[in-house]
């Protein structure tokens, strides 16, 4: 939390003035009982009407003065708190933009979102309250005790004892309840878990006729929640009764000893009233303070979480300017003994990968789930660095490129087809902000997305909903491909980007890419043998290792894993069938 205070720097004036005005207001509150005492002891005792009027006028002007002070204080506090949190929010957002895939993986998006939204809001509230009340409440409590001392020393001892006892009660109940609240939260999570499970698994649960069992399980958890809520409630509701007793015992003691002193002439009647009034003020402020401490503790916890994100260093090593680019026009991509081990992972996801790809070639990458296909293309695009060995692009190590040159080189179509809220045009322009409509449509045509755009109202102006909800999976996928093509990349990565396309569209896409984008190096990641079948080079991955590199025909002969994949999708019979078909059609149509 501490390091966040640099964001308060521009608001130093406000964060000092706010509490100061608050203190000024609080000291006025402390004067009031003294004035009442004076009214009783001088005004009433001496039947001095003018004195009473004067003192009441003082009370009213104190009211106005207090209003002025507190409004000023509220303004400064609000300004400092809001400005502080805005700066933090911005710093967070900006920081997250600099993180690499590794840190994004570690954090997870939901964490990042919570930090930027609810955590920052909590910090804002906490800061606002702290500036307003953190000084005020203790000030009034201690002020009241000190005022008591000015009235009578031994009576003030009662105050000290009462404050100590009240604080002990309030804070021990608080301390006792915090772990209990955590337990309540835990039980609530249990109820939440079963509810979620019942919604997600509704078909299976109903198929197994588990309705009554689920109700039983739910009731059990729900009852457990209720009983812990009740036992927590029993303790937390001790707060009011206990503080009430303490205050009243103090008052009883006050009157008892006060009576003796007044009888001896050591104390006046008005002074007793004043002491009584101070006692009431103490209770109110201590309860407020307890509330405030809970709020501030929460805010500090949020602040610490925010700081942890801000402290997370970006692991990017790419220089700001590309270094020593020795251009190799022949080999677009080269992996030499590259290994990738994700942070905190126990084993490498890819190991010992070596291959070369010439500019303009089409490379297929195939393998089962978790075999390392996506890791390989992510390493290629410099999203993750090789933990051993190296990755070179056009003869230069990936790490030597500046981040912006690296991004310009690649067109990436990720597995998850993500589009953003806005028009189709806005979305496609992510690839290149300066692209003309003509460029956009050309890319769309290659991506088989032209007719999607043409069939939508407004064409390029068609508004896409958040997450692309108003488009089908296949439409989204084709638009994301178009978006990558708008970049006119040197290397295109299609990471399982045709999974939602039917076979015919998939084939048409591959044909168009090959025919219209000559010279571009293409990586096709797929689980379908048919998608990579005709690539210049197929890399077969199994459990993080390249178990075969070559053309389809070579691999069918030499690579058991490839054959297994192929057969599981086509069956032996089809191959014979297919071979016959191929020879009938002739090699012309194969045309790679």
């Amino acid at each position: 939390m501490k390091k966040l205070f640099i964001y308060l720097k521009s608001y130093i004036k406000e964060s000092i003035l706010g509490p100061l005005f608050k203190l000024a207001e609080a000291s006025l509150d402390l004067i009031v009982p003294v004035i009442i005492a004076k009214i009783i002891d001088y005004g009433i005792a001496a039947s001095d009407l003018n004195y009473i009027i004067k003192m009441c006028a003082v009370l009213i002007s104190l009211g106005f003065l207090g209003l002025g002070f507190s409004v000023t204080a509220q303004y400064f506090a609000a300004k400092a708190a809001v400005g502080f949190s805005s700066k933090i929010r911005r710093a967070l957002f900006e920081h997250i933009q600099t993180l690499t895939y590794t840190e994004i993986d570690t954090l997870g998006s939901s964490t990042m979102i919570t930090r930027m939204t609810s955590d920052v809001n909590q910090v804002q509230n906490g800061m606002n309250l702290a500036l307003r009340l953190l000084l005020r409440s203790p000030f009034i409590v201690f002020g009241a005790v000190i005022m008591a001392f000015t009235i009578d020393f031994s009576e003030a001892i009662v105050f000290t004892a009462a404050v100590a006892a009240l604080s002990a009660v309030i804070f021990s109940i608080m301390l006792f309840c915090i772990p209990l609240y955590k337990k309540v939260q835990g039980k609530l999570d249990g109820v939440l878990g079963i509810t979620k499970e019942n919604l997600e698994g509704v078909r299976v649960l109903r198929a197994f006729r588990k309705e009554n069992d689920e109700i039983k399980a739910f009731t059990e958890r729900n009852n457990a929640l209720t009983s812990i809520q009740k036992s927590t409630g029993r303790i937390s509701s001790l707060m009011n009764p206990l503080t009430y007793i303490i205050i009243n015992l103090a008052v009883v003691w006050l009157i008892h000893t006060g009576a003796i002193k007044v009888n001896d002439g050591a104390l006046t009647q008005g002074a007793v009233v004043a002491l009584y009034n101070y006692m009431s003020q103490i209770l109110v402020e201590l309860v407020k303070l307890a509330d405030l401490i809970i709020n501030i503790t929460k805010a500090i916890a949020c602040g610490n979480r925010i700081q942890a994100v801000l402290e997370l260093k970006s692991s990017s090593v790419n220089p700001s300017e590309t270094l020593g680019a020795q251009v190799d026009g022949v080999n677009a991509v080269e992996f030499c003994n590259a290994e990738l081990k994700y942070k905190n992972a126990s084993a490498a996801s890819l190991s010992d990968i070596t291959f070369k790809v010439r500019a303009g070639e089409t490379v297929g990458i195939i393998g089962g789930v978790g075999s390392g296909k996506t890791s390989l293309v992510n390493m290629l695009a410099g999203f993750y660095y090789a933990t051993k060995g190296c990755v070179k692009l056009f003869g230069t190590d990936v790490k030597s490129y500046s981040e912006s040159d690296l991004r310009k080189m690649f067109g990436v179509v990720p597995q998850k087809a993500v589009l953003f809220k806005g028009s189709v045009r806005d979305n496609l322009k992510w690839g290149n902000p300066n692209a003309s409509d003509c460029d956009l449509m050309y890319s769309a045509e290659i991506a088989q997305a032209k007719e999607i755009i043409e069939n939508k109202d407004g064409g390029l102006d068609f508004q896409i909903d958040e997450g692309g909800k108003n488009l089908s999976g296949g439409q989204r996928q084709r638009l994301t491909i178009a978006r990558a093509l708008v970049k006119k990349p040197k290397i295109l990565i299609l990471d399982d980007s045709a999974s939602a396309l039917d076979y015919a569209t998939d084939a048409a896409l591959r044909n168009a890419v090959r025919e219209k984008l000559k010279g571009i190096t293409v990586f096709i990641v797929s689980q379908r043998a048919s998608s990579v079948r005709y690539a210049d080079k197929i890399i077969v991955l199994d459990d993080g290792r390249a178990v075969g590199i070559g053309t389809h025909d070579e691999l069918m002969l030499s690579c058991g894993v490839y054959r297994e994949i192929y057969e599981s999708q086509f069956g032996k019979e089809e191959q014979i069938h297919e071979k016959a078909e191929q020879s009938a059609l002739g090699d012309g149509k194969k045309g790679i």
Binding site: M55, L59, G66, V71, N222, V369, F383, R528, Y534, K590
Partner: protein
């Protein structure tokens, strides 16, 4: 974000229906609250009386003071005890009511038609049963503890004040509402600011959500700077509106405090005069003790007003939450089983679809006039492009949805005349989207047969080719599978789902093959497990693999909700229709 706090008018009535079970507690709570308020208000009077007896030097009535302070101590102890009991009672009422409401909601969930669950985001339903119920509990609790005590305190104070001095009491009564007006006025003014703030905040959250969830895409396209620019624009608007909202809303306290201070000054003024004015009048005199008491009342009297306006907002919010819960509870349930619904003794696996029509939304027809007659033990593969109605067929067979017209029959009995629980026990279902529950591997396999022995469970796992990988898990069959699937691969999850069915051994099967391929070795195991499962059982299989399709007895080729072709692989290829096209597209050359 604060939710809209509008609740339909009937909500209060419905809440009371739940509270009715605890009416005795409610009566106790009200009685205790009255006692505690009376005690709390009586204490300052006693203090005032004591002060009146402490007039000055050698003018103190010690014996009376002694009695009074003993009374104060006794009352304080009584009030504290009563209050604690009242709080406990209130806790009990509030938490039990919410528990009951939550339970009704969950029970409803079990009999809601699938249509509701499919059409409402799960997060929303969860938030009703969890967050809304929780907020409702808080509201009820605050309502019980503060609303009644607050009102009682106001009335009690008023009564005591009027009893002591009409004029001053009248002044207090006239002046205090000012603070309420003040609070109202500010709340009204700030409403618009808060609305604007929450709008901008919503816009910013949406932007943050969208971009952060897809941070990798943002990076891949180098959009970082552009995003920061857009973020800044929203952020600065948010800062401005937040400042206004935060500042103006924080004026409520200073302003009400100001009014209170003025009232206080008036009481002091009028009280002092009253003391002077009646000093020489015997009987009904206004004493200094009365003044002290009045001053403490003046402080107390305004507090509940401020609290009550807070409590009312809280209650409105709670009612709005309750209304959302009741909406769920009152949702139309699925059509209940007929009273004389049958449980078939013998199910061989004969299924008939007679002229079935079905659509999810009336405007969009899906399945029309579908006729099928399936003989026991046959394997039916359903193929077709996505969205053609393949999974709809599953919904109809399992009666997750009811047909619009026509009928589905098992052993020639309309499934609407069979108990749902019986009907569903005839089928074993493995869906493409494998769902495992939060629990151990064992729990998951035994889902359909909780009393299965370890031997049976292991045998089922072995039959599903799952035993070997389960043994390799850290705790074998006791390994806990969390919400995220506990590190199991998609294929392994599917094997567990198959083992689940193996254990129950139902006469008919519904299998939905996974589209995304699973690693090759597991895939082969799944195919083998499927084949073993299908032996001798009527099987509906939504097929994506051509090998599965070829081996089926009957292939149903679906397109746009219709079965356009039907027959064996060879027959369909010979017919050279849509199936042939579909089949050949697999070989489309790139």
């Amino acid at each position: 974000m604060k939710k809209q706090n509008k609740a339909p008018s009937g909500t209060v009535k419905k809440v009371f229906k739940y509270i009715k079970n605890y009416r005795l507690l409610l009566v106790i709570s009200v009685i205790l609250a009255s006692i505690s308020v009376a005690g709390r208000l009586y204490a300052p009077i006693l203090v005032g009386n004591a002060i009146d007896l402490i007039v000055g030097k050698d003018n103190v009535d010690f014996s009376s003071v002694g009695i009074i302070i003993t009374e104060i101590a006794a009352i304080a102890a009584a009030v504290a005890a009563v209050q604690w009991i009242m709080n406990t009672v209130n806790n009990r009422i509030a938490f039990h009511v919410v528990r009951d409401v939550r339970e009704s909601a969950f029970k409803k969930l079990q009999i809601l038609p699938l249509k509701y669950i499919d059409n409402h985001p799960h997060g929303e339903t969860v938030s009703r049963i969890i967050a809304d119920a929780d907020q409702f509990a808080d509201g009820l609790l605050i309502g019980f503890t503060q609303l009644f005590t607050g009102v009682a305190t106001i009335l009690g104070t008023l009564g005591f004040m009027l009893g002591m001095n009409m004029k001053i009491a009248a002044a207090v009564v006239i002046l205090t509402p000012l603070s309420l007006f003040m609070a109202r006025f500010i709340a009204g003014k700030t409403y618009g600011m808060f609305k604007l703030q929450s709008e901008i905040r919503g816009e910013q959250t949406a932007f943050i959500n969208e971009m952060t969830e897809n941070q990798k895409v943002v990076k891949a396209f180098g959009r970082e700077q552009e995003n920061i620019r857009r973020f800044d624009e929203i952020n600065s608007r948010l800062e401005k509106s937040s400042l206004r909202a935060a500042f103006f809303s924080s004026l409520t306290n200073p302003c009400t405090r100001f009014v209170n201070n003025i009232v206080y000054a008036f009481v002091a003024f009028m009280g002092a005069f009253a003391v002077l004015g009646t000093a020489f009048v015997s009987g009904g005199a206004f004493t200094i003790g009365n003044l002290s008491c009045f001053l403490s009342y003046a402080n107390q009297y305004t507090k509940p007003f401020n609290e009550i306006s807070g409590v009312i907002t809280e209650l409105q919010n709670a009612l709005a939450c309750a209304a959302r819960l009741f909406e769920l509870i009152e949702e139309e349930p699925q059509i209940p089983d007929k009273k004389d619904a049958a449980v078939l003794n013998e199910v061989y696996g004969n299924v008939k679809l007679d002229d079935v029509c079905f659509s999810y939304v009336p405007e969009k027809k899906l399945i029309e006039n579908l006729n099928l007659n399936i003989k026991s033990g046959s394997h039916i593969a359903v193929v077709g492009p996505t969205g053609c109605g393949k999974t709809t067929l599953i919904n109809l067979l399992m009666r997750f949805y009811d047909v619009t017209s026509g009928s589905v029959k098992v052993e020639n009995v309309d499934i609407r005349d069979i108990k749902r629980s019986a009907l569903r026990s005839y089928y074993g279902m493995v869906l493409q989207e494998t769902w495992l529950r939060n629990g151990t591997v064992r729990d998951n396999i035994a889902l359909g047969k909780p009393d299965a022995t370890d031997g049976e469970i292991i045998a089922a796992a072995k039959a599903a080719y799952a035993d070997s990988f389960i043994r390799r898990l850290p705790d074998g069959y006791n390994t806990v599978i969390g919400e995220d699937g506990g590190g199991l691969s998609g294929g392994q999850r599917q094997l567990l789902c198959i083992a689940r069915i193996m254990l129950c051994s139902p006469p008919m099967l519904i299998l939905d093959e996974a589209t995304s391929s699973i690693d090759t070795r597991t895939e082969i195991k799944i195919q083998k497990a499927f084949l073993r499962l299908m032996e001798g059982r009527t099987t509906f299989i939504v097929a994506h693999r051509l090998s599965t399709v070829r081996e089926a007895d009957v292939i149903l080729v679906m397109r746009d909700g219709h079965i356009i072709e039907q027959g064996s692989h060879e027959q369909l290829i010979a017919a050279n229709g849509f199936y042939t096209m579909l089949y050949n597209s697999q070989y489309s050359q790139a």
